[in-house]
Amino acid sequence: MANLDGTSTVCIVWKVPTQEGVQALRDFFEFHYTYMKEKSYQQGPLELIQYTISESPEYELSGEWHDGAFPPTTGRTIFTLFEIYRTPDGLHHHMIDGKVFASELYEIATTYNIEFHLMNQMKVIQSLWD
């Protein structure tokens, strides 16, 4: 992939306390992935460059990683979403399009006591590789 410097990103982190909440989000992401694949632009000024959703246990914040060890897990599950757009307009356009999902996401978060943080309209200032 080409250097990403100057592109626009959104990152969302969900922290899910129960397996029921995890399953609700997994189901939502299946739907969202299909939507993104069908609706996103693969070229032009609104281009979506990359979209990833990742999942893991939540680990306690620790320096043990630097010793090659895994810290204890908290029991919660983490999901992260990254979307990278060619331009701020591409990301802005997606957020307006994504209004249809917003209420469902807020409802899932409320129902399952899911903590989430949205970090929007960020700009890539470093990237590898060229």
């Binding site: 990403l4 979209y51 990742s54 893991s56 680990y59 990683w65 802005h92 309209q121 590898l128």
Partner: protein, 131 residues
């Protein structure tokens, strides 16, 4: 093609700096870290680093206006997100062992400038677009 990154391993850091001095300290640290990553990371093989990108933006006071095509107010804090994607779990573990030299500097900056730090490690990619 879709799902090219499914099964890869990632780590995400979120830093929230309350002051411009803290943001500048982070930028300086990240310059050194980027050089380190460029020199030390594997471009091929089982320890391969696939993606590394660091983003910066203001912290927004509210999310909802974005869905209405509006821009919320800023809180005055600065957010950095760092995402690294590796070919394998071993690649990510190996990176942590090698990057131990950065940890004290990062924690010192975080403490000195009262920066919020969140780390989400050993994530597995479950959906991705495109190639």
């Amino acid at each position: 093609m879709a799902d090219a990154l499914v099964g890869k391993f990632s780590v995400t850091f979120v830093f929230v700096a309350p002051t411009e001095e803290g943001a500048e300290a982070m930028r300086t640290m990240f310059d050194g870290h980027a050089n380190f990553m460029g020199v030390k990371s594997h471009e091929h093989g089982p320890l391969k680093l696939i993606h590394y990108y660091l983003s910066e933006g203001p912290e927004w006071a509210d999310d909802a206006p974005f869905f209405e095509g509006k821009w919320p107010e800023k809180t005055g804090r600065t957010v950095f997100t760092l995402n690294e994607v590796y070919e394998t779990e071993d690649g990510l573990i190996h990176h942590y062992l090698e990057s131990a030299e950065f940890a004290p500097e990062v924690f010192e900056i975080v403490t000195t400038h009262k920066i919020e730090l969140k780390m989400y490690n050993q994530l597995k990619v479950i959906h991705s677009l495109w190639d």
